[in-house]
């Protein structure tokens, strides 16, 4: 166990009281991620990638989002992606957010189709599964991988509780919570733990994972279920807690993009803290602990 005596920079020093003592002088491999966590993490990556891409195809069948119980409330959509074709057959992509209009040709509303010419569609074909407009098939992909994602997620949560992975590795300690400020400063300076401290997730990392695992992912599932006319009958009117079915669809879409934002930051952190070392730890389980950086 490492006792922290100086916090806040890569000049941290540790008084090591465990049998690991002395090892901090040299690099060594540490068993960081158990097999179930590694397997479930990569299943989750594949499932969420397919869910996002097939979801964008489904969205393209009616590329507008509303707030309320129906799409015809008298209020204009929150977001609307359209394509317009002028007299000379020129296609323009238009995105309207809260009534503000943007020309988004090339990306939203109009983009290059599978054979290279500009076609009207909400999201570009390279971002959707299948590549072309095909609602029935996109739904098949989406609902199949939704089941995989949910079952995998439930197994992960159950495993994390039973194996104490949640309590040991993900739950921040009181001391850590009090050091959030330092951790934020560290992150802003791209300073990372080395040595013994790098064996554990830092407090921001823990909190982010907890928010993803216990807030964003359950919310995206719940909002998916809220769109189901069958599931809505479980307790008639429960979707109104979230503003109604069309609001649920909007939240589903927003949370999906919040998850994309998380993944971008997540992969960025993986990159800058040693891509190969991180990836190896999530594939073989072994993480190389670098010798203490002390000055």
């Amino acid at each position: 166990m490492a006792l922290r005596i100086a916090i806040g920079s890569n000049q941290e020093k540790f008084m090591d009281q465990s049998s690991d003592a002395g090892r901090t002088a040299a690099n060594y491999l540490y068993y960081r991620h158990t097999l179930p966590v590694r397997v479930m993490h990569w299943i989750n990556v594949i499932a969420l990638t397919i869910l996002l891409m097939s979801g964008l195809n489904i969205f393209s069948a009616h590329p507008a989002l509303y707030w309320g119980k129906s799409s015809y409330t008298g209020r204009p959509p929150i977001l609307e992606i359209e394509s317009a074709t002028d007299a000379s057959d020129k296609v323009t992509g238009i995105t309207r957010i809260f009534g503000h209009e943007f020309i988004t040709t090339g990306v939203l509303g109009a983009s290059n189709g599978p054979n290279g010419n500009l076609v009207g569609r909400a999201f570009p074909s390279w971002l959707t599964i299948p590549d072309g407009r095909w609602l029935a098939m996109a739904r098949q992909w989406h609902l199949f991988f939704a089941w995989i994602f949910v079952i995998n997620g439930l197994c992960y949560v159950a495993y994390s509780i039973v194996s104490r992975h949640l309590a040991r590795d993900l739950a921040p300690t009181g001391t850590e919570l009090r050091s959030i400020r330092e951790s934020v400063v560290d992150h802003l300076h791209f300073r990372h733990h080395s040595g013994e401290a790098s064996k554990r997730y830092n407090v921001l990392q823990k909190l982010t994972y907890l928010i993803v695992i216990f807030v964003l992912l359950p919310l995206v599932i719940l909002m998916g279920l809220a769109m189901s006319p069958g599931f809505d009958t479980l307790w008639p009117g429960w979707v109104d807690i979230f503003g109604g079915r069309q609001s649920a669809r909007t939240i589903h879409f927003i949370v999906a993009w919040l998850l994309v934002a998380f993944v971008l930051i997540h992969v960025f952190e993986v990159l800058i803290t040693g891509l190969w070392n991180n990836l190896r730890s999530m594939i073989t389980g072994r993480y190389r602990v670098e010798a203490e950086v002390s000055k």
Binding site: T49, I50, M53, I58, F59, A61, H62, A64, Y66, K69, S70, S71, Y72, T73, G74, W126, I129, P130, D131, G132, W134, L135, A136, M137, R139, Q140, W141, L143, F144, A146, W147, L225, M227, S228, P229, G230, F231, D232, T233, L234, P236, G237, V239, D240, R245, Q246, R249, G274, L275, W276, N277, E290
Partner: protein, 258 residues
């Protein structure tokens, strides 16, 4: 640290990873066009139906809304005017000659006129219509519960599905009439009605006059418009594409509860 990233074995690893990613994305489109993969994916529908049926009470009710939440105009989707001469002839005389034939696996086949349907008990409900495309509209429907119609014809014990044959051809040459089917659980559900009124007026042609089905626990395409004939069957495999509905034959789920 990053100097290690250019180790040849690692370079190979990342190249393999990038290639795998590209294959995955291109592969998804190829897979969608195979015979076996969509079949594998479609197993989900069985799982979803079983899960929903297990979780939901058998007669779970769809939400009903107050008058104030009705959409100002109920959107017409799909066919707005069936390109069918017989239908147009019926419509031009205000559906006076319309008769809803209810037969198949029943003890007593009946042809109901519109007056006869109106004379049966009615149910009025303000419900939300959820289209598979993603939009919703709220409308007020009045019609005869399908249950009342079924009680009049007395389905035989072998009947497992109710099939709705419609007047609207889905091909421009006048072929592929729309059709749909539901099981007995939905057929006897109190909110499953044969609607003849929308928003306090006779059902407009754009919304399925003279009769359209409402099955409130499923998506919009199950709510067949222009219903001309109802048939009780033990299997829909021999009807049209064999999947139980026009959109089902195009790859959409028969169980449209999600």
């Amino acid at each position: 640290m990053n100097s290690h990233a250019f180790h040849p074995r690692r370079r190979l690893f990342f190249r393999t990873l990038a290639a795998a990613g590209a294959v995955l994305v291109a592969g998804c489109d190829k897979l969608s066009r195979t015979e076996w993969f969509p079949k594998l994916l479609s197993n989900t529908e069985i799982l979803t139906r079983k899960a929903q049926r297990a979780i939901l009470p058998r007669k779970s009710m769809a939400q009903e809304f107050p008058e104030s939440e009705r959409s100002p105009e109920f959107r017409s989707n799909g066919t707005a005017m069936p390109e069918n001469p017989q239908y147009k002839a019926l419509a031009s005389s205000g559906f006076a000659a319309y008769g809803l034939e209810v037969g198949g696996l029943v003890e007593k086949p009946v042809i109901f006129s519109l007056e006869e349907l109106r004379a049966l008990p009615s149910r009025t409900q303000i419900t939300r219509h959820d289209c598979v495309e993603g939009w919703s509209a709220i409308g007020k429907w009045k019609g005869v519960p399908l249950m009342a119609v079924l009680e009049a014809v007395r389905p035989s014990a072998a009947a497992r599905y109710v099939v709705f044959h419609c007047a609207d051809p889905m091909e421009s040459d006048g072929s592929s009439p729309y059709y749909e089917s539901i099981d007995m659980d939905d057929a006897y559900h109190p909110q499953t009605i044969l609607a003849y009124e929308l928003n306090d007026k006779a059902l407009p042609i754009a919304n399925g006059a003279p009769i359209r089905l409402r099955v409130e626990r499923q998506l919009g395409y199950k709510h067949a418009k222009y219903v001309m004939r109802i048939e009780l069957v033990d299997s829909f495999e021999k009807i049209a594409g064999g999947k139980g509905g026009y959109w089902e034959d195009q790859g959409y789920e028969w169980y449209a509860g999600i």
